[in-house]
Amino acid sequence: MPHSLRKRQQGHWERAFKADVSEIASAASWVESIADSAGLSDAQAFSMQVCLEELMSNIVQHGEGHCSSNSQWPSGPGNDHLTITIAINAYADRITMSVEDNARPFDVSKAVGKKIDQPLDQLEPGGLGIHLIKSFSSALQYQRTEHGNRVTVEFKG
């Protein structure tokens, strides 16, 4: 049955992951299975995947002082104590996905999204994640929690 004709399965799903690059793929598979069982459209599922990937990689890369110039950041040992908890809520008219960490403060809602707006020879590769998160979600909220950060992105439809 086409996704557009399937009845949305409402519910709540939650799972914790380590702040490690290999865990991003695990989280992506988990979100994909939820999207399928909840009857989300392909576009909604893909948008969730984009936001999940960018939010988690930001935490893995920057959560504990790693810098982007460090090519070893994915396997750096400084993230051992960092945990990322993903919570997904499916409602009749929208889906929300919260990404909560115990990393240093970073308000993604105030970060300026970068897109490619320079000629190739002047372009610094990278840094497009914030722009993609804001483009592929219909709303974004940030909360500073007692132990870290919580970012909630919303998807309409």
Partner: protein, 112 residues
């Protein structure tokens, strides 16, 4: 993520990617992709089998395009799937490397 290289006519080299071009894959293929880009002038990157792309994957493409430009050539992206193309165009990558679904006109895009 799988990566394969095919020499075409007219001095064009095709890189075919397959799978998810996510953070982990981008890290895995970065060195090889950049090496191929540095060794070639005109690169056609076939994205038909790529099911997902993240900002780190776009970074890989941009680094490759800069390398081909340094060789006096260019990079062209071929046949991205609709969701992947949406990510590419949202990032405005098409302002620095063309995206096409018409393989027949690729040679002209490279000025051949």
């Amino acid at each position: 993520m799988r990566l394969s290289v095919t020499p075409l006519e007219n001095g064009i080299t095709k890189i075919s990617l397959s799978g998810r071009l996510d953070v982990q894959s981008a890290i895995e293929i970065d060195d090889e992709f950049t090496k191929i880009a540095k060794e070639n002038k005109n690169l056609l990157v076939d994205l038909a089998e790529v099911t997902f792309i993240a900002s780190l994957g776009i970074r890989t493409l941009v680094i490759g395009a800069k390398a081909t430009a340094n060789n006096g050539g260019k990079m062209v992206l071929l046949n991205p799937q609709p969701n992947v193309e949406q990510v590419l165009r949202t990032s405005h990558i098409d302002s620095v490397m063309p995206i096409t679904h018409d393989a027949a006109t690729v040679a002209k895009m490279f000025g051949r």
